[in-house]
């Protein structure tokens, strides 16, 4: 992603895409996830920058500190990263093997962007954890995570379900449910040191 705006005079060399335009495209897709409508934007102009940003943010917030007990703590940065990308690839392969009409990168794009509500939930949980611990604290976090989980599932199903033959929709949607459930579980059980 590069530097100056295009100028009509520079036809000789290849003009790089301006940074702001890419960021705007990513932001527009975020809006499409937050307010899911029947729209093809996520699928037509897929990109993987948004999922990468979200995945890195989530992994940074979820990782345990290196000072803790190595044995039984939460996931490391690399583990979260691998779970998200490996999970998304597996779901995409599953969808294509079942006969889906969606392309590989389109599916990765949708799954990655629909992690946005869960990333928001992680931010909220981190803030809530700054207050004193207790059952109320846990209830608030549980409520936020459940709502965001439902939002993620609704957003991704809206985009993905139509690409499957009608008698296999449930088979393609179930792994998505499992994927976001595992991520929600990791967010809910995050305990700071």
């Amino acid at each position: 992603m590069a530097e100056a705006a295009e100028s009509p005079g520079d036809r000789g060399r290849a003009s790089p895409r301006p940074l702001m335009r890419d960021l705007k495209a990513v932001g527009k897709k975020f809006m499409h996830v937050l307010y899911p409508r029947k729209s093809n934007t996520l699928l037509r102009d897929w990109d993987l920058w948004g999922p990468l940003i979200l995945c890195v943010t989530l992994a940074l917030m979820l990782q345990r500190g290196s000072a803790d007990s190595e044995k039984d703590g939460g996931p490391q940065f690399a583990e979260v990263f691998v779970i998200v990308w490996f999970g998304a690839v597996t779901i995409t392969l599953n969808s294509k093997l079942l006969g889906g009409n969606i392309s590989f990168f389109q599916s990765l794009c949708v799954l990655g962007y629909c992690i946005l509500p869960l990333t928001v939930a992680m931010l909220v949980c981190r803030l809530v954890l700054l207050a004193e611990p207790g059952p109320v604290n846990f209830m608030v976090r549980l409520f936020v995570v459940i709502v965001m989980f439902a939002w993620s599932i609704a957003a991704s199903t809206a985009f993905l379900a139509d690409s499957q033959p009608p008698n296999r929709k449930a088979l393609a949607v179930y792994p998505v449910f499992l994927f976001y459930f595992v991520i929600s579980w990791m967010i809910l059980t995050f305990t700071p040191q």
């Binding site: 703590g73 939460g74 583990e79 009409n101 690409s163 033959p165 499992l178 305990t191």
Partner: protein, 319 residues
């Protein structure tokens, strides 16, 4: 004079489907829905399973046909299994044949694994020379997370009152659970298949299973452990062991009834030893998971943790 259209073979229908998948998102779905008959005009062997029928579930009539076809018909089954996978193994279509199941078929197979009926063979009745990898793979994935999450929850609830307990998510146990479960779901069928092939060379068996059918049976037989793992959260030893017995009974009987016809022609001792080994391995899996992922509910600790706050309160009051 009208030119006769040549019959469409299965090959052109696949090409058509690929072309449709490259077109615009909205169009693909509508054109597939609008022209189901276009993709299914084909002259194929009557025995070959039609791949492009997105119609309503045909289970009642289909089950009847399958019952008539299905008793001890391993020759025809092997032939059909050979005919089905016609694409070379380096193409994507080859692997798509292992995911050629509809939602209702997966549900039927899961139901079959939960309700073992004596005399009804799971493979003959439900798999019908269409073994799928969807069920085994996703049932194992769900089981991995069910065991890891339930174990974590159960430990948390058991140690809830203790002052020295600090909750940890125990994330490493997920990878351990995944290794154990996937290894069981692939290696045990592999060794069982190898063993059955070896015995087949010595003793002529009427019934023989392909490797994928064995993987399929094992995968679906693990389904009962998902609700069992969730119920293992209850911190009562008796409840947990009763659950182990029930789950082992159901899935063990599915496996035993599936593999008994494959070994009954053999030497009686070997046949019995095979069935006993299958059930024993299944038992080791469940008991091992219970022991490793779920802490023992220490009944003696609960009264003391309830007593100590009272004592401290009493001590505070008296001072």
């Amino acid at each position: 004079m009208r030119k006769l259209r040549p019959p469409r073979s299965a090959h052109t229908t696949e090409k058509q489907q690929n072309r449709q998948s490259n077109s615009e998102f909205g169009d693909a779905a509508t054109s597939l829905a609008a022209n189901p008959d276009v993709t299914t005009i084909s002259i194929e062997d009557p025995g070959e399973t039609p791949k492009h029928h997105p119609g309503p579930p045909r289970s009642p009539g289909r089950e009847e046909d399958d019952e008539l076809l299905g008793n001890d018909d391993s020759d025809k089954t092997e032939l059909l299994a050979g005919q089905k996978k016609s694409s070379p193994f380096w193409t994507f279509e080859y692997y798509q044949t292992f995911f050629d199941v509809d939602t209702y078929q997966v549900f039927d197979r899961i139901k079959g694994s939960l309700l073992p009926i004596p005399g009804k063979n799971f493979v003959r009745l439900y798999i019908r020379s269409n073994p799928d990898l969807y069920g085994p793979f996703w049932i194992c994935a769900t089981l991995v997370f069910a065991i890891a999450i339930s174990g974590n929850l159960s430990n948390f609830l058991i140690h809830l009152g203790e002052k020295t307990y600090h909750y940890v998510p125990e994330f490493r146990k997920v990878s351990i659970a995944a290794t154990i479960i996937y290894a069981y779901a692939w290696l045990v069928p592999l060794s069982l298949w190898g063993f059955l092939m070896w015995r087949n060379s010595k003793v002529m068996n009427i019934v023989s299973y392909s490797f994928l059918e064995i993987v399929c049976v094992y995968g679906y037989s693990l389904f009962i452990y998902i609700p069992t793992a969730i119920l293992w959260i209850i911190p009562q030893k008796a409840v947990r062991w009763i659950l182990v017995m029930i789950a082992l009974g159901i899935s063990g009987s599915v496996l035993a009834m599936t593999f008994w016809p494959a070994v009954r022609e053999d030497n009686r001792r070997i046949a019995l030893a095979t069935i006993v080994t299958i059930v024993l391995l299944h038992m080791f899996l469940s008991v091992g998971c219970l022991a490793y992922f779920f802490d023992a509910p220490e009944m003696e600790h609960l009264p003391t943790t309830i007593a100590t706050p009272n004592q401290t309160v009493a001590a505070a009051k008296s001072s």
